[in-house]
């Protein structure tokens, strides 16, 4: 076993990773004691932290569960709070089924749509700027921040409370959200749905076309050919949908838009 150590020269990375398997023995060190002692030290530090934590903080038990009187706010386990937070902005079907499906499918297709061979077995931002930034945006900005919001900033009635504000179960928030078609003066139910559908489809189409132009402008026609239309379509569809989540959140916060499209079956 050997620890991967950071290469001195970024330019030779691909070469190095290939060489590694047959490389000379003198760029390796022994697991014992070099790795194990560091791991053990970490272990000790974690132990100390755990001891202090467990002695200093009691289990956060609340009153006995009562099915007739559920807690307010009723929160999902922390790792699902991002999903629960999305319910603020979307139809439950969309936030709870469609978007999580996209996330799972998107994570599954990463190996197939990623044709960048660089960065295997070592860490390097320069070589995978686009991939890393996309992941950062999707995971850290969207997913993790939604968890933070859901955990720390949502109080009774799922209302927004800053950390210095007292959770007041009687807080009343004005309910003035409207649908996007309404903003454009459309009052008819049918035409509202049509309008919303057109806007939604247009958003996806324009987004994908724009992304195409952007990629070609950035990487050239040759890259696009190498990437292939199928990979591009999948990637751009997922990317545009991810951005759509952000756009919808902004629409809600800035313009009080409830839904872009409202139908009896699904709202977006």
């Amino acid at each position: 076993m050997a620890t991967a150590v950071k290469p001195a020269e970024t330019g030779k990375r691909v070469e190095v990773s290939i060489k590694k398997a047959i490389g000379p023995g003198d760029d390796k060190v022994h697991t014992w004691p070099h790795l194990v002692r560091a791991e053990f030290l970490c272990c000790v530090i974690i132990m100390i932290l755990m001891i202090v934590w467990s002695l200093g903080v009691d289990a956060p038990l609340e009153e006995p569960a009562n099915p007739a009187r559920t807690p307010n706010p009723s929160k999902a386990p922390w790792y699902f709070l991002g999903l629960q937070e999305m319910l603020v902005f979307f139809d439950p079907w969309h936030a709870g089924v469609v978007l999580p499906s996209f996330i799972i499918v998107g994570l599954m297709v990463i190996p197939y749509i990623d044709i960048n061979p660089k960065g295997n077995g070592y860490y390097c931002f320069e070589d995978r700027k686009w991939e890393i930034l996309t992941f950062y945006f999707g995971f850290h900005i969207l997913w993790v921040s939604l968890i933070v919001i859901g955990t720390l900033l949502r109080g009774p009635g799922w209302n927004w409370f800053w950390p210095w504000e007292k959770w007041d179960p009687h807080l009343v928030e004005a309910l003035t959200n409207i649908n996007l078609p309404y903003l454009f003066g459309i009052r008819d139910y049918f035409w509202s749905a049509i309008f919303g559908l057109v806007v939604s489809v247009l958003f996806v189409v324009v987004g994908m076309v724009g992304m195409y132009a952007w990629v070609v402008w950035l990487k050239g026609k040759e890259f696009m050919e190498r990437w292939g239309m199928t990979r591009f379509l999948i990637t751009s569809f997922l990317f545009v949908n991810m951005m759509a989540v952000l756009v919808k959140m902004l629409l809600r916060h800035l313009l009080n838009i409830k839904y872009v499209m409202e139908t009896p079956w699904i709202n977006i």
């Binding site: 150590v5 290469p7 001195a8 020269e9 030779k12 190095v16 060489k19 490389g23 000379p24 003198d26 760029d27 060190v29 070099h34 002692r37 030290l41 000790v44 530090i45 132990m47 100390i48 001891i51 202090v52 002695l55 038990l61 609340e62 009153e63 006995p64 569960a65 009562n66 099915p67 007739a68 009187r69 307010n72 009774p156 179960p169 009687h170």
Partner: protein
């Protein structure tokens, strides 16, 4: 190809400093954990040790005191000296050598005895084997005769050896007797000393018990968690039974030990150990069922007392502890230790809170306000508007709350009530015309009315002077209206017909009929009207015509509906309405976030404060846009606190039946049901029942014998069948016809009467209140003759006070006592026995003389209990249709009623001229 950089210096760096720091912190962490686990989070250990120290110290002091007492006792010191002397003489001289010799001999004799015993056991064992061989030979066809021979030999041998053994035993016993004789003086003295030292041994025993022994090492008691488990006491939120675990006694070690009343908490003895803990042993009932708090918690006082977030039942403080009594006791009025709770419950029932608020177990109590179905026939229209606007302005102690209506709302509500009752009211008026002859200006009539009002019993419920109180409800309410200003409210015509027959006007009225004659009713009406005749007549600004406007009535209907007037009053057109208030069945468990505090930041955020202010000013939490409807009852602070204690009892759940009081669904239920009726009709206005009430007695302080009888223990005294009939028609039997005050006719429903009878028998804890008495079977003629003789003037002169059929006593009227011709159907024969035996014990202050002990020695061989039985049997035969000849001859039959039930006093009037003296009459009345 370039080699990758490998900084071996990094790998060679020493982490010793980090290791040392880590190891130190780990050790510190371990020490902290031990401290935390043993001391920091175990404050109960210190408390328990603290108590053990006190206990040990006290026991030790007792031991020292006892020792001092013994040493100061000359008898004990003398005994000790004698013992020492005896021991000395036993250990020296001839006795000592004799003893030493005997000891030697007994050792030898015991050896012989042991050997002989062993021989016996061996031969017994061999015999068992021989028996087996013999049986085996029979079974298998072997040599039976040989086996039989051996067996018989062994039997013989066993007899011999047993004889030898007995000889050795005798030898030992002989020597032992010798020794006993030599040691006798010492032993006797030792025994005497032991008697003296018994108390000290007891204390020493207790002291020895205050030690823990671990692996043979004696040490101070080790503190252990003391825990009481109540199986299945609770039901969790998923309907599963769960145990309740209380560890309170881990700190409150002395709570159930007497002698620690003076020490500080947490060691003190329960302040009401007797009766609270004797009736609720902690090992069966724990602590938190009464006190609340977090019984399992031990980490800190705050946690144990449940004074932490998320623990829903923190320790109850002060009177609030009483609230838990209702969990297991259905009727708290009969348990003395919950006065605040009982008063709160009474207020809830009497003020009519149940009219608007549904509370399980408190529905079906009936309206507290009068029926308004014929109100237009009763009141003055202007008065009605003013009354609805502010009842307290007219009658400060009324139970009717102030709805804080605007003038327009009050007038509209009045208009609806007026128009909706117009038809019924007019019909009633037409059939009850002005009787005429009522003149409040006629001084004689008014004086007669006042006399009647004071005498016949009106004042049990009603006062007629402002500021006077008849039967109070709480601190500032009256059970029934004060009549000082009645003339401003209604007419003589109404009062006349109303007092003659209240149920003729309102079939559900609580007001009973006092069986007034026309003239009596006229006089009382004149008196009542005269009370307010001096008041200046109000300027008539609102007439009945004003209230008959349909638009106004429509507006008023909305007001009546919104404010739920029908919660307390029967109102035409409002029969289908339901309660407007919040259900209170589990009000005590309301979480803080469900309590709305309006714009009142100054009110502390807790249930107690919310409830107090709500009751003090029911609309306090209203804001400019949150409306509240509850009217203001102007309750006194103590009433609010009592009501709050009762509200605290509304948890919506109870422990399982087996934890509740005996008879929860039997006797207690009967008491609860009956008490509600007894209180609804205010029986306690006249009668003291179970030690409570009897308010009218304040008017009879000079002559208590003229007051209505005290009914403590009435259930054991009277027969249920008689009681039922009496309540249905009290005038049927003129039991105490010389009294001025009248037992009213309530016109009770049968089920109400039954409930009252059951109430009294349940209070008396009678298992079987019913019986059948037949003089022919239950008694004999000789005994009856003895009884008659004993009661005659030759012995106890019973008839000098007691009325017998239509035979009034020879003595003065103020000595008269109840008619014993009714006893056979009225009195419980068992009760009569104890009554004759000791009347004062049954009813302190009774005029009935006590004849026992001290009965005549010449009757029935002086057997007192037999004499009492004879009199009882005689009393039971009086007027009894099935009675034997001796009784029948002596008396007029009971059904030849001596008086007209409708006119309770004629015989008295016929016979006794001194009407004023009559008040003193019936002390025996109180007695029988």
């Amino acid at each position: 190809m370039a080699r990758r950089d490998l900084n071996l210096d990094d790998e060679k760096r020493s982490y010793a400093g980090l290791w040392l720091l880590g190891a130190t912190l780990l050790v510190l962490g371990a020490i902290w954990a031990i401290l935390d686990d043993s001391f920091l989070r175990r404050p109960w250990k210190q408390y328990q040790h603290g108590f053990y120290d006190i206990e040990h110290e006290r026991e030790h002091a007792k031991l020292e005191a006892e020792e001092k007492k013994l040493n100061d006792d000359p008898k004990y010191v003398e005994l000790r000296k004698q013992l020492d002397a005896a021991k000395e003489s036993q250990a020296s001289g001839e006795t000592a050598s004799k003893l030493a010799d005997a000891e030697k001999r007994i050792a030898v004799a015991k050896l012989d005895e042991g050997e002989a015993d062993l021989n016996v056991r061996f031969v017994k064992s061999e015999l068992e084997a021989a028996w087996y061989q013999y049986d085996h030979a029979l079974e298998t066809g072997g040599n039976v005769s040989a086996a039989q021979k051996q067996r018989d030999e062994l039997i013989a041998q066993k007899g011999e050896r047993e004889k030898e053994w007995q000889t050795t035993l005798d030898a030992v016993a002989r020597i032992q007797a010798e020794m006993d004789e030599l040691q006798a003086p010492v032993k006797t003295l030792e025994k005497q000393l032991e008697e003296h030292e018994a108390e000290r041994a007891l204390i020493q025993n207790r002291l020895d018990g205050m030690k823990s022994i671990v692996a043979n090492v004696e040490m101070d008691r080790i503190a252990t968690i003391q825990q009481i488990v109540l199986p299945d006491f609770d039901t969790n939120n998923f309907e599963q039974p769960v145990d309740r675990v209380d560890r309170c006694t881990s700190c409150h070690v002395g709570i159930d030990k007497s002698g620690f009343e003076d020490v500080a908490q947490p060691w003190t003895t329960h302040p009401k150990r007797d009766p609270l803990l004797t009736k609720h042993p902690p090992d069966q009932f724990g602590c938190t069922p009464c006190h609340d708090g977090q019984g399992v918690a031990l980490n800190s006082i705050k946690q144990a007392h449940g004074d932490v977030r998320f623990w829903l039942q923190p320790l109850l403080q002060g009177d609030q502890m009483q609230s838990r009594c209702l969990d297991c006791h259905r009727d708290v009025s009969t348990i003395g230790d919950a006065p605040s709770l009982a008063k709160g419950e009474y207020l809830f029932e009497q003020l009519g809170c149940h009219g608007c608020h549904l509370v399980s177990d408190y529905d079906g109590l009936g309206d507290v306000g009068p029926s308004l179905r014929r109100i237009s026939a009763k009141v003055d229209p202007q008065w009605m508007v003013g009354w609805i606007h502010d009842p307290y302005a007219f009658r400060p102690r009324t139970k009717m709350p102030n709805f804080e209506f605007s003038d327009a709302q009050a007038k509209a509500a009045a208009a609806y009530l007026w128009t909706s009752s117009k038809e019924d009211g007019a019909g009633w008026l037409a059939s009850h015309p002005d009787p005429g002859g009522i003149d409040p200006a006629d001084a004689a009539q008014v004086a007669k009315g006042k006399e009647l009002f004071d005498e016949v019993g009106c004042r049990a419920c009603h006062a007629a002077v402002e500021g006077e109180v008849a039967t109070p409800v709480g601190a500032n309410k009256d059970y029934a209206p004060n009549l000082a200003r009645i003339g401003e409210k209604t007419t003589g015509q109404f009062i006349y017909w109303w007092i003659k027959d209240p149920r003729g006007y309102n079939p559900e009225s609580r007001m009973p009929s006092l069986r007034l004659t026309d003239d009596e009713a006229r006089a009382i009406t004149a008196y009542l009207l005269s009370l307010s005749s001096a008041a200046p007549a109000a300027e008539q600004t609102i007439t009945s015509a004003d209230l008959e406007s349909p638009e106004l009535a429509k507006e008023g209907e909305a007001v009546v509906r919104k404010y739920g007037c029908y919660g307390c009053h029967s109102i035409n057109g409002m029969d289908a309405e339901s309660r407007i208030g919040v259900e209170l069945s589990s009000f005590a468990t309301k979480p803080l976030e469900e309590l709305y505090f309006g714009n009142h930041p100054e009110i502390p955020r807790n249930w107690n404060a919310w409830t107090f202010h709500k009751l003090q000013d029911p609309r306090i939490y209203a804001t400019e846009h949150v409306e509240q409807l509850m009217p203001n009852f102007h309750l006194a602070d103590e009433d609010i606190e009592n009501l709050r204690v009762w509200l605290q009892s509304r948890r919506g759940y109870q422990p399982p039946l087996r934890y509740r009081a005996d008879g929860y669904d039997g006797r207690q239920e009967r008491i609860q049901k009956g008490r509600r009726i007894v209180e609804r009709y205010n029986c306690m206005g006249c009668h003291q029942i179970d030690g409570r009430g009897g308010y009218i007695r304040t008017l009879y302080q000079d002559n208590p014998t003229s007051a209505p009888p005290i009914l403590n223990g009435e259930g054991a005294k009277v027969q249920p069948e008689w009681f039922f009939g009496f309540l249905q028609d009290p005038a049927r039997q003129p039991l105490r016809f010389w009294l001025d005050i009248r037992m009213p006719t309530f016109g009770l429903e049968d089920h109400e009467t039954t409930a009252i009878v059951d109430y009294f028998t349940a209070l008396a804890e009678l298992e079987d209140p019913y019986f059948y008495w037949d003089p022919k079977i239950d008694s004999n003629p000789e005994l009856l003759q003895v009884g008659e003789m004993l009661m005659s003037d030759d012995y106890f002169s019973c008839w000098s006070c007691h009325v017998r059929g239509n035979e009034t006593p020879g003595g003065p009227m103020e000595q008269w006592a109840p008619n014993l011709a009714y006893a056979h159907e009225r009195l419980n024969p068992v009760w009569i026995l104890s009554w004759i035996k000791d009347p004062q014990a049954m009813m302190p202050g009774t005029k009935m003389p006590a004849f026992y002990p001290g009965g005549p020695p010449d009757v029935l061989g002086g057997d007192e209990s037999k004499q009492i039985v004879a009199m009882r049997d005689y009393i039971m035969s009086l007027g009894n249709a099935a009675g034997v000849a001796v009784a029948a001859e002596a008396l007029a039959p009971a059904d030849a009623a001596p008086v007209d039930p409708n006119a309770p006093r004629p015989p008295a009037e016929a016979k006794a001229p001194g009407a004023d003296d009559r008040r003193a009459a019936a002390s025996g009345a109180a007695g029988s």
